[in-house]
């Protein structure tokens, strides 16, 4: 299951969705809006997606993860639009027979998602400045 939405992410419901009687392990990762980056203070974040490609890439990630690990259920959900401090921006939830695979798959999914899925964030800093976060392009 993959999802890109402007609505708040209900991480408990998403976790519940991947639970399964054959699973001995469920691993959920949440990305949340952090206030302090070094000594800079964030007021809010705005996320923008290239929706068609982002949905396609998320689906490809799910398929690849299922090839690599014995996953039972997978949920990848990303929120876009304006997010306030503490809001959940991304949820990765997987269920597997055993915990080792669930940790590995969850870690791989979030790391790869952050590298290949075209969703960008714009920092709204407390000093009033706003900037897109593009690692390597500064």
């Amino acid at each position: 299951m993959v999802e890109i939405t402007e609505s708040p992410l209900d991480h408990a419901a998403i976790t519940e969705r991947v639970r399964h009687v054959n699973a001995g392990a469920v691993c959920t990762f949440l990305g949340t809006v952090r206030e302090m980056t070094g000594d800079r203070r964030t007021v809010a974040l705005e996320y923008e997606a290239y929706p068609e490609m982002a949905a396609k890439k998320l689906a490809e990630l799910e398929a690849e993860a299922r090839r690599r690990w014995p996953l039972i259920e997978v949920a990848l959900a990303h929120r876009v639009g304006r997010l306030e401090l503490g809001d959940v921006s991304v949820v990765v939830a997987v269920s597997c027979p055993h915990r080792g695979d669930s940790f590995e798959a969850c870690r791989w999914l979030i790391d790869t998602l952050k590298d290949v899925v075209p969703i960008w964030k714009r920092e709204n800093w407390a000093d009033g400045r706003e900037e897109w976060v593009h690692p390597g392009l500064e």
């Binding site: 923008e48 290239y50 952050k114 969703i119 897109w132 593009h134 392009l137």
Partner: protein
């Protein structure tokens, strides 16, 4: 001139497309009617208001042109009868702007059939005018003068005083010493759309136009969600990068440093662009700290 000086735009769009044989302003480029693209580029470049003089309501294409312009953000004038010349349309728009409490300090005079009008070019012309607000600013490509043209408000008002059979070009010729030319790297400023041959050239195989979707910093730099580039066919991703740098200088700083997606898939520089493929610039994603 204070930085708060206001720039309006005038888009005469009342013509009957006689030579094209069909309403050219409703022809679609990158999925959008031409008139909407032109208005959006002017709005993105900071022109307020953008006044479009549409065909009269009883003209077959009139309501559709007016609606497309309005939805793109223009103030639309619908004359009772079709203005005989482009100059008449300009005069109507100038009169409308003159009614405002505070008329603009300059107008960007933009032919509606500017299929490759570029936000960054309009911005450069406006910037050149701001440096010296008395002058007329015109773009050139390889020495030939093109469009759009930035006219100081006093000169725009003078259109009404021209003899009936004299066009806006005569006014500019009369004030030739005030004209400041801005060389542009692309022939886009010369391209208009009058005949089916023009259209074929624009859409045809020798120099296809491609629409490139923009996101995040790319969208911010270009001032809009997409740009149109002219590109020989066949072309590769590397050709697209070069065309972006040449035709959209505001994207020059990133065009060779971002990934390019073809039909929603990352593509290498030697990949050939299929006809009609969806193209997009993909700046590095937010990734960040592990």
């Amino acid at each position: 001139m204070s930085p708060t000086s206001t720039i309006a735009a005038i888009v005469p769009a009342a013509g009957a497309s006689v030579r094209m044989g069909r309403p050219k302003l409703l022809l679609e480029f990158g999925g959008r009617p031409l008139i909407a693209r032109v208005v959006e580029a002017l709005v993105a470049a900071g022109a307020r208001p953008v006044v479009v003089v549409a065909p009269p309501a009883e003209a077959p294409e009139g309501p559709a042109v007016a609606r497309a312009a309005f939805e793109a953000g223009a103030d639309v004038l619908v004359p009772d009868s079709r203005p005989a010349t482009m100059r008449d349309s300009v005069e109507l728009a100038v009169a409308e702007l003159g009614w405002a409490d505070e008329p603009p300090d300059a107008v960007v005079l933009t032919p509606a059939d500017s299929p490759r009008l570029d936000v960054s070019v309009v911005e450069r012309l406006i910037a050149a005018w701001r440096e010296s607000p008395g002058r007329i600013v015109a773009p050139t490509f390889e020495g030939r003068r093109g469009h759009p043209i930035v006219l100081p408000w006093q000169l725009a008002e003078a259109v009404a005083d021209l003899p009936p059979d004299v066009g806006v070009n005569a006014l500019i010729a009369e004030h030739a010493w005030k004209v400041f030319e801005v060389p542009i790297e692309s022939d886009a400023v010369l391209v208009d759309l009058d005949t089916p041959q023009d259209l074929e050239r624009l859409q045809g195989s020798s120099a296809a136009t491609r629409t490139v979707r923009l996101f995040a910093i790319a969208r911010q730099l270009a001032g809009g969600p997409e740009v149109v580039v002219a590109l020989d066919d066949p072309a590769t991703v590397a050709d697209l990068r070069r065309a972006l740098v040449e035709q959209h200088p505001t994207l020059g700083s990133i065009a060779d440093r971002v990934r390019i997606a073809v039909d929603d898939e990352y593509a290498e520089d030697d990949a050939v662009l299929p006809p009609g493929a969806t193209l997009a610039l993909i700046p590095p994603v937010s990734g960040g700290g592990v």
